[in-house]
């Protein structure tokens, strides 16, 4: 997979609910990266922003079919390449297909 120049990337916290993207880079210490890897946050992973907690923070992301909560202070250091087509692939039809 080719990683695009970083100026095309946005932080996870720049997404609108329902939007998804591919993780490009984690600007976090190695130990934190290792920990986030276990929850699926790693380069190349597809992450979708589902919603914010009722009091505004933490943020909920859907990775690998599971909802994982991160505080904005962590999520803002995870850079992704947002993809409109991903929205269609992961969020839209998935919901429609299982909604009935």
């Amino acid at each position: 997979m080719s990683l695009l120049p970083h100026h095309d990337c946005v932080a996870l916290t720049d997404l609108k609910p329902g939007m998804a993207g591919i993780v490009q880079r984690l600007d976090l210490p190695a130990q934190v990266q290792q920990m986030l890897l276990r929850f699926g946050f790693t380069e190349g992973a597809e992450v979708r922003f589902s919603r914010r907690a009722p009091l505004g923070d933490p943020w909920l992301f859907s990775v690998d079919g599971t909802d994982v909560a991160l505080r904005a202070e962590t999520a803002q250091h995870i850079l992704i390449l947002p993809g409109a087509e991903l929205l269609g692939q992961t969020a839209g039809p998935a919901h429609d297909a299982t909604g009935e």
């Binding site: 990266q33 919603r51 907690a53 009722p54 009091l55």
Partner: protein, 628 residues
């Protein structure tokens, strides 16, 4: 329907199996993979709960029957990996490598994965298989996975992993025969080796992607049901409201339903004592049995219904998946005092008992926030304080309305004591966050499991577990303390008879410490209670029951009436405040010692809480004394 009922495939058939070599089997898997459900199903009720030596990680072992020889199944803590980040992971790795004292190296491993989240669990699978023990990979929740359109070829996955794979469902009991066959056959073979570059995210990810492709993995669609529930339970406005209603509802039920249950239980226990008094001839023996032991034990036993009820609610909230949402909602608030949302679960459990609460802090990866949570947890009003609170409130607070029919005076005092403990906890957390503890950079990461219906079996096992711990405490510590107190109240003998209470050994001991506690409004009997309750708070009630029970002046009175005669109202209020703050629980101190691995923190905690309790009780007694 995939091949869950066929014999599991094997990657590399080695020498023919030699049955009968498998004696110890380890069960491992990530949190929320349904591992405990599987453990309960495989072992039924033949299980033991203990601790691994030197750490507080609980060790669950159980027996598998139906084999030629007994097989011990060891349930390892839920882990996401084996890199030894947390104590849980270190323990798991040590057990698998045969380095855990008192436990033989497992002969085989059952690895449970939630097949609906397979992708990121593959790295755990790689770590576990790389340990080199015969391993079977159990893909749990496969019924849900298939229903939601997930696809996977278990034979191909087995080839990729080099280990047999079976699709199972622990809740439905599907695929259990495959486990049976594995343990009889291939668990006895030398396992094939798997080499994956761990600790190297890109390669690890590439390998996982390759495994997914080659085993024709197609993820299941996410649970729509969970998402819709989250739309409500995590709603901007409804979310916090439901959160508060749930917390209030738990307390209302525990005290609303729990109180009459406890009262009924108390009547039953009293009837037992009355009946025993009619068949045991009067004398020293009957005095020991009824006044000494029975009064001591039953005054504590009556709290069993309320404690079980509280643990039942915590069990329902946790098993249903709501507790994780509650942690998410409370993160913003807890952050203000230097904690995180994961502290919500231990702090809620601390309302039942600080010991499991402090153990539950292991899920907090951030060391500083974990230590702060450990240090403040004993301030939460645990169920051991309830016997003391209920007794003193019933004795001293009249049953009159305060806020119309909604809130009575007794409920108001009880509520204030809960608030007092809560405020002390938060003030202490704030103090700790601004000074004593250094910050670390481990972030808050919380996985939200899908909502599930709690199973009766899992709830029943929890209650059995907690009930046993409580009864063990009553049967050992409180029994021993009641016995000692009775002996001390009955010596020295006067002409072969027990002395008047004022001339007993315990009275001299009590009078010796009385000057220190007199300013708090306590008499020497309460002083003895305070001494014995250093062991555990509820011992206080048992001790008072025994002392007043053997005192001829108050022998025939219920304990409440006896206390009313003997203590002032300011003294009684001071005693309540003392109990709200003081650290009277050796089990908690022992757990803090083990969890922090030093005597420093339990010592600081004990000194801080006891000092605070003494000063607060002194102020309450002196200030209230101005009016009464």
């Amino acid at each position: 329907m995939p091949t869950c009922h066929e014999s599991p495939p094997f990657a590399v058939p080695a020498a023919p199996p030699v049955p009968g070599q498998v004696r110890t089997v380890a069960l491992i898997g990530p949190p929320n993979s349904g591992k405990s459900t599987l453990f309960n199903r495989l072992t039924k009720l033949r299980q033991k709960v203990g601790n691994y030596p030197g750490v507080t990680v609980e060790q669950h072992t159980g027996q598998l029957t139906g084999f030629d020889h007994p097989i011990t199944l060891v349930d390892l803590p839920g882990v996401y990996g084996l890199e030894a980040f947390s104590e849980d992971e270190r323990v798991s790795l040590d057990v698998l490598n045969g380095k855990m004292p008192g436990l033989p190296r497992p002969d085989a491993v059952l690895l449970v994965l939630d097949v609906t989240n397979l992708s990121r669990q593959l790295s755990l699978a790689a770590s576990v298989i790389a340990v080199g023990l015969p391993t079977m990979v159990l893909l749990n929740m496969s019924d849900l996975f298939i229903k939601r359109g997930g696809k996977l070829d278990p034979l191909k996955l087995a080839v990729e992993l080099g280990a047999p794979v079976a699709l199972i469902s622990a809740t439905a009991g599907m695929g259990m025969d495959a486990i049976d066959r594995f343990l009889r056959g291939d668990a006895n073979q030398a396992p094939p080796t798997l080499r994956v570059l761990l600790n190297h995210p890109p390669q690890s990810r590439q390998w996982a992607a390759q495994v997914r492709t080659r085993s024709a993995y197609q993820p299941a669609l996410p649970s729509v049901w969970s998402r819709h529930l989250d739309d409500i339970l995590l709603h901007k406005i409804w979310g916090p409201i439901i959160f508060l209603v749930v917390v209030a509802g738990v307390f209302q039920t525990v005290f609303g339903i729990g109180k009459p249950l406890s009262d009924a239980f108390q009547n039953l226990l009293n009837d037992g004592a009355t009946w025993a008094a009619t068949i045991i001839p009067a004398g020293i023996f009957s005095s020991l049995l009824i006044d000494g032991l029975w009064k001591g034990l039953s005054s504590v036993l009556v709290f069993l219904p309320q404690i079980l009820l509280l643990f039942l609610f915590i069990g329902i909230l946790e098993d249903s998946g709501y507790l994780a949402r509650a942690a998410l909602i409370s993160d913003r608030t807890l952050r203000g005092v230097g904690l995180n949302g994961k502290a919500f679960i231990p702090l809620l459990s601390a309302y039942a008992c600080a010991v499991p609460a402090i153990m539950a802090t292991r899920t907090i990866e951030n060391k500083r926030e974990r230590l702060a949570t450990i240090l403040i947890a004993p301030f939460m009003t645990c169920s051991a304080r309830l016997p003391v609170y209920t007794l003193m409130i019933a004795a001293f607070i009249p049953n009159v309305p305060v806020l119309g029919p909604l809130l009575g005076a007794r409920a108001a005092v009880m509520l204030s004591l809960y608030v007092l403990g809560f405020l002390a906890a938060f003030a202490t957390a704030k103090l700790l966050s601004s000074s004593a503890l250094k910050a670390t950079n481990i972030p808050f990461v919380l996985e939200l499991p899908e909502y599930r219906l709690p199973t009766l079996q899992s709830l029943a096992l929890r209650l059995l577990d907690r009930g046993t711990v409580f009864l063990k405490q009553v049967g050992t510590v409180i029994l021993a303390v009641s016995l000692v107190i009775w002996v001390l109240t009955s010596l020295p003998l006067h002409n072969g008879k027990t002395p008047p209470l004022e001339q007993s050994i315990i009275a001299s001991l009590g009078h010796f410490i009385e000057p220190a506690i007199k300013p708090l409004g306590f008499n020497w009997k309460v002083g003895i209670g305070l001494l014995t309750s250093v062991v555990a708070r509820e011992v206080m009630v048992g001790t008072l029951g025994t002392i007043y029970g053997t005192d001829p002046n108050t022998h025939s009175l219920p304990l409440q009436a006896a206390l009313r005669q003997d203590l002032s109202l300011p003294g009684a209020m001071a005693l309540l405040v003392f109990f709200a703050f003081a650290m009277q629980c050796t089990s908690t101190l022992a757990v803090v010692r083990r969890e922090t691995n030093s005597w420093k923190w339990p010592a600081i905690q004990f000194a801080y809480m006891s000092g605070l309790a003494y000063v607060a009780a002194l102020v309450v007694n002196q200030v209230l004394g101005l009016w009464w």
